[in-house]
Amino acid sequence: MSDTTSVVLVGVGGQGILLASEILAQAAMLAGYDVKTNEVHGMAQRGGSVMAQVRYGRKVYSPLIEEGTAVALASLEQIEGLRAAHYLKEGGLAVVSSQQVVPVTVSSGVAEYPGDAAERVAKVFSNLKVVDAASIAAEAGNSKAANVAVIGALSNGLEFDEELWIQAIKKSVKASFIDLNIEVFKKARAL
């Protein structure tokens, strides 16, 4: 187990978590590792909390990550990062988008979105990188590429070099979006 690297990616259904995990998985594969990923389809995708997991190493057994063992956590939404914080190991890297997506439970008055979400994120994660993924993506011309911005910010914390990431993006993204996504990735990686 010790030589397997685990990364957790979270967000809200529709934010593109699956593509983000695909890029990471492709990068690990291009680096010559054994890779396993996990995600949930179906009902959970309809605007609910979504998690994808990627594990790579010499020989990977479980596709599921044990709580407290992930070296990195990437979140496309503030409170979703908090919700999944217990997957991260002590001192692991947390990349959290500053974006907030208001759940229907909040809009309909059943629950409250914590006003101090950003402070909580700063308190929970000792090794934190906050990224304004939505703005980076919007500046490049497509706010849907926020997922790739988060991957860009995450990429510095993982071992793969830039060329490998770019190859992985080319393998994972539709041809017409490759240039835009590479631009977003590089911008977020340079931060």
């Binding site: 187990m1 890779v35 990923t37 995600e39 389809h41 179906g42 605007g47 044990e66 759940p103 006003g115």
Partner: protein
């Protein structure tokens, strides 16, 4: 060797193609859906189709097998309940061309109405159950299963679960090998006609076959001994095997690729080789009970939970219990304790929202069904009162009406569910002189599972244009005199149509028709915005539960332009007329 990162479902599709399968049929259901969606890429070499339900899909595959062709049929766990009738008799007559039943379980119920362990079908139908533990095995076991099926003339179940079907891992790809069996149905009534006289003979053959299958289980390499440290031996299969390898490290493992019938000899050999034996199964204690019935001492259910999904963390807890230790797993951080829940919701622009918003105004008992509209039960819509099974809505509403329930009795189901098993329900309501109301929320596609075609869409799985069955015409043919259509984005129309049909003393059927916007991929109308000066913060628009309408800390609501599909429902709800088309 070419390796690709494939999900278990993609690997099964690839395996079917490589193994020379000539026919694949199924009905969508999470987590099985992507198998047929992926198999369609091989349509030049095989025929594949969505059937209206799993029973039909199963029978289509049986026809192919009887003619000598290799066939697979795919479904989720509850689908095999629907197909149980043909399964139990086909298990007696047996396969000619290899026949693989792929059934995908959903332990933990990520996207299902119940939790079942499909391995139970093994002992029930007396047929083999194969359980892959990753995508490579998912692909390989398709071929193993089809070969066993032909060799022993038996259907074979390939049982996956969410973590096998939807996990991805590396798979070696090979070429297709066509089956050497010719496609030609050879008439042999005692073999294929299950009348009592011949079925009694089939029954004996089933028992004889089971002995042969046990012998096969003893020697087939898909049941594998991994002898390491002999202090502890663990029997495991499927995804659980992977968690065991991670958490128990050097323990010896008997990895079962075939979990029914069990290899008694191999299990005795394993039990004799290790000091302590532990069986770790997900859901039911099938292996453990059999091992104990053989008089072999083992641990299992006393420390292994039998409800829900196993995870690496759970396996670590089992390890601690075995060693009578306490384990403290990382739990959600304190700062996340009061986070607002984010359950799945109807998407922005979903046509079902209009139906439930209208239904809420009446005194109704709403019997629901399986599909996206099941989300209509959650607040703030809260207008769906029961879900049982595919097609259950209409008969439940009928039964309730017949015993004198005072509220209007309504059955609500989707278009795909209507063709699955809703049609027999309306035939019954009509025949038995019921007066309940049926609402078919027809979004022109099987939406919940990710947009699959069905008999009402005019397109086949292979992408060909075909006959488009009319729900309205079927209802009329079933004797319904009151058949209406309504537009869910027009609240006035919805209110008046529902009022008339609910109050009618005759059975009525309303087709609420609007294509799923996620499928159509285009705006329904102009995006809307809330004029903050005109808004009086009455929160009426928040009661329709649209994720695009956001409000925090009691502030006036706003519409998130990234999420709005322009359905205009909120515009019609707003009592002040404060919601308007967004200025460009």
């Amino acid at each position: 060797m070419l390796k690709e990162l494939l999900s278990g479902n993609q690997a099964i599709a690839r395996g079917a193609w490589e193994a020379g399968v000539k026919l694949a049929a199924g009905y969508p259901g999470t987590p099985s859906t992507e198998i047929l969606e992926n198999i369609v890429q091989y349509k030049s070499d095989l025929h594949c189709e969505w059937a209206p339900n799993e029973k039909v899909a199963f029978e289509v595959a049986v026809g192919a097998s009887f003619a000598g062709a290799r066939a697979i049929v795919t479904m989720k766990h509850v689908g095999l309940n629907v197909a149980a009738d043909p399964l139990m008799t086909f298990a007696m007559s047996g396969a000619v061309g290899g026949m693989l039943i792929v059934v995908a379980d959903d332990p933990g119920m990520h996207s299902s109405q119940n939790e079942q362990d499909s391995r139970n079908w093994g002992a029930f139908a007396k047929i083999p159950i194969l359980e892959p533990a990753d995508s490579q095995e998912a692909k390989d076991f398709v071929k193993v299963g089809l070969e066993l099926s032909e060799k022993f003339e038996t259907p074979v179940i390939l049982r996956t679960c969410t973590r096998i079907s939807h996990s991805r891992s590396l798979v070696e790809l090979k070429d297709r090998v066509e089956s050497s069996k010719p496609v030609e149905f050879k008439k042999d009534p005692p073999r294929y006609v299950a009348i009592p006289a011949w079925a009694r003979k089939m029954r004996v053959k089933v028992e004889q076959r089971l002995y042969k299958l046990i012998a096969e289980a003893e020697k087939n390499p898909i049941n594998r001994l991994e002898l390491n440290n002999k202090d502890l031996g663990i029997i495991a299969s499927s995804a659980t095997y992977q968690y065991v390898k991670d958490i128990f490290g050097d323990a010896s493992v008997l990895k079962l690729g075939m979990s029914y019938p069990l290899p008694e000899g191999k299990i005795r050999e394993f039990a004799g080789a290790v000091k302590e034996l532990l069986v770790i199964e997900e859901l039911d204690s099938l292996i453990e009970n059999q091992v104990k019935a053989w008089g072999i001492k083992c641990r299992g259910r006393d420390i292994v939970p039998g409800i829900g999904e196993h995870t690496p963390g759970r396996i670590r807890e089992i390890k601690a219990r075995l060693n009578e230790q306490k384990v403290i797993l990382p739990t959600p951080v304190a700062e996340s304790a009061d986070l607002p829940p984010r359950p799945p919701v109807l998407c922005p622009g979903c046509p079902h929202r209009g139906t439930f918003t209208a239904l809420k105004k009446f005194d109704v008992a709403v019997m629901g069904d399986i599909g996206c509209y099941s989300l209509g039960t959650l607040p703030p819509l809260s207008s769906l009162d029961s879900i049982l099974c595919m097609g259950g809505s209409v008969p439940m509403a009928h039964g309730m009406q017949k015993v004198g329930e005072k509220k209007y009795c309504v059955g609500i189901l989707g278009d795909s569910t209507f063709f699955h098993s809703g049609m027999t329900g309306i035939a019954n309501t009509s025949y038995n002189k019921g007066s309940s109301t049926t609402i078919v929320v027809d979004n022109r596609i099987t939406a919940m599972t990710g947009h699959q075609d069905h008999p009402g869409t005019g397109k086949t799985l292979e992408g060909e244009e075909t006959q488009e069955l009319s729900i309205e015409a079927i209802a009329k043919a079933c004797g319904y005199k009151r058949v209406r259509t309504a537009n869910p984005y027009n609240m006035k129309e919805m209110d008046s149509v529902l009022k008339e049909e609910l109050e009618s003393d005759d059975a009525s059927l309303v087709v609420v028709k609007a294509v799923c916007p996620l499928y159509a991929k285009k705006l329904i109308g102009p995006k809307q915005e809330i004029n903050q000066d005109e808004c009086v913060n009455c929160k009426a628009c928040l009661k329709i539960g649209c994720p695009a309408i956001e409000s925090k800390d009691g502030q006036k609501p706003t519409i998130n332009p990234l999420l709005c599909w322009g359905c205009g429902l909120c515009t019609q709800i707003c009592p002040k007329g404060a919601i308007k088309a967004k200025a460009k």
